[in-house]
Symmetry: C2
Subunit: 334 residues, 2 copies
């Protein structure tokens, strides 16, 4: 196989803010894997929080490319080679996605179909970044497409989180979920969560800092289900997540790709955990990779391609609030 | 798809005895799924212990056949349909195997390759049925093929289990593992296991009756790793197995097929459990289905096709003690 990687800047429709980050653009890496007149594509959306950048992802792909087997179906072998090198999960996810795209194109089948899955899934939420309560309520009027549920970014240190939810609840009647992005202490969470429950919020993501020793206590006392994101990385972290949460937020950029994400979903089921699949700010290329396994999940947060101004990889279809993977070979976008 | 099922009797090379069963023949069901000029085959080896028979498996396949979708790639949909009906896991495994065989034939790819796995695996053991110590030692001289490790069936109520292992150890130098098939109490296991360890046995399967409340205590005190078989069924049983064992013995005839078996292996990894893949007395058709996922496992017990007198489904290759799946489309046998 022949592998190339280049950095691309995605421009956001509007400034995006969460508890630890503000952004107007997102740099991603597009990986192309060519073999026998077909080319598969994958996207890496690196996690700054874990020391990854578009540049480090691009460098990783170029460094590992000569070690990859020439057989584009040799996923297990590729995974073993990538596992020898630590970190750079977004880059690994891009290679995994490009190989799935390539495999699907070579066999003339959509990836979801080769995985034995359905072209279906639960409705995706659309994310409202953190802001003043009024600002967040106004943003709900500018949600693109026909998203049927909203995710609100909370975790402000200003004591306004409940007001944020109240303002949004006053503006829309759809299902709500929240994400504190590690912004609370156990005591703060126990103050806020009952109020959020009374406002109809369905569940809360990552209330506490990753690894916070109060996780099990919070889960036991929380009136809302807790999903962990920053606490959840690879298959090896799922059993620990089961001690502090009711569900996990899997992201391909954290798991290193579709195959590990499926393994994590399987393990979550064995442990009675709910399964959410999230995304980064990424184009339709990255979102399509995630949407391929959407039918395995209880909750989807796959809005990345609609957060950006001009998606260079169209193909994912938002139908009745569900982000459907394309019905074309491989990842089917572009 | 067009589905047919027929009962076939497999004749054993020699009488096979375990703690709760003696057999000279095994009735299995062969399932054929036809679609677009291709036909996929799968085998059901029903577990009497769970109230299944070849006749009940055949009847199940015929009853469910009209409900199956016409799309031979729609594994998730098939699984959902089969899950609505309780039991008959061997019949479900046969349908799953036939669909994998069909998919592989339609795409021109071996099943292991479509699963992204390797044509490889750990060495398989060959099983020596329970008998007098001398008889078991003699049987080691008649092991077919080039198996490099032996599994000894124990669990006799005659107090001779240690003598059985000692006799075999005196006859061969290869790695040994044992399977008590629920034959011991906690106290008996704690008497026997240290002696087995000193004879070089590597691990013990199912020392206690399934569901025995002493499981966690035995694991804590056992000098040998404990693998559970009769305690381990579907993905939903894996977390419980983690409380009483160091590993699980997955069988397609218990899991209902390849897809659930992979999910179970994934969950086992998340829980730090070892993974063993076993079989029933079955032909190369059933063994090939299991061998497709052998590379996911730590230990294989895939000798069924070599326990029978005349395998009607050749194709699995025993190479250096490893049961390799065929390098032909689908399950690749016959």
């Amino acid at each position: 196989v022949e592998v190339t990687a280049r950095v691309t800047t995605l421009r956001l429709r509007e400034t995006f803010r969460i508890s630890y980050l503000v952004q107007d653009t997102a740099d991603v890496v597009h990986v192309a894997v060519a073999h026998a007149q077909a080319t598969g594509y994958g996207e890496a959306a690196p996690f700054e929080r874990y020391g990854e950048s578009a540049e480090s992802a691009r460098a990783f792909v170029e460094e590992v490319a000569p070690s990859l087997p020439d057989d584009p179906f040799a996923f297990a072998e590729v995974e073993a080679i990538l596992a020898e090198r630590p970190g750079e999960l977004a880059a690994k996810a891009a290679i995994d996605a490009a190989l799935h795209d390539l495999q699907g194109k070579l066999l003339g089948q959509p990836t979801w179909r080769l995985l034995g899955l359905r072209r279906a899934g639960p409705p995706s939420c659309y994310t409202i970044g953190m802001g003043d309560p009024d600002e967040m309520a106004r943003k709900t009027q500018r949600v693109p497409g026909d998203f049927r549920r909203l995710k609100l970014k909370l975790g402000g240190k200003d004591g306004l989180d409940v007001e944020r939810v109240r303002a949004v609840r006053g503006a829309v009647s759809c299902p709500l979920q929240v994400d504190a992005n590690e912004g609370w202490t156990v005591d703060e969470a126990l103050d806020v969560l009952p109020e959020l429950q009374s406002l109809g919020v369905e569940y809360c993501e990552q209330p506490l800092p990753a690894g916070d020793p109060g996780g099990a206590q919070l889960r036991a006392r929380s009136p809302l289900p807790i999903y962990v994101d920053e606490d959840c990385h690879l298959l090896s972290s799922v059993a620990t997540c089961a001690e502090v949460a009711n569900g996990i937020n899997i992201k391909l950029a954290k798991s290193g790709g579709i195959r590990e994400a499926i393994r994590m979903a399987n393990a979550a089921r064995a442990l009675g955990l709910g399964v959410m699949l999230g995304c980064m700010v990424e184009s339709g290329l990255g979102i399509s990779a995630a949407a391929q396994i959407g039918s395995l999940c209880d909750f989807l947060d796959l809005d990345g391609n609609l957060l950006i101004a001009d998606d260079p990889w169209p193909g994912v279809e938002l139908v009745d609030g569900v982000q459907l993977p394309p019905d074309r070979p491989g990842l089917g976008v572009g």
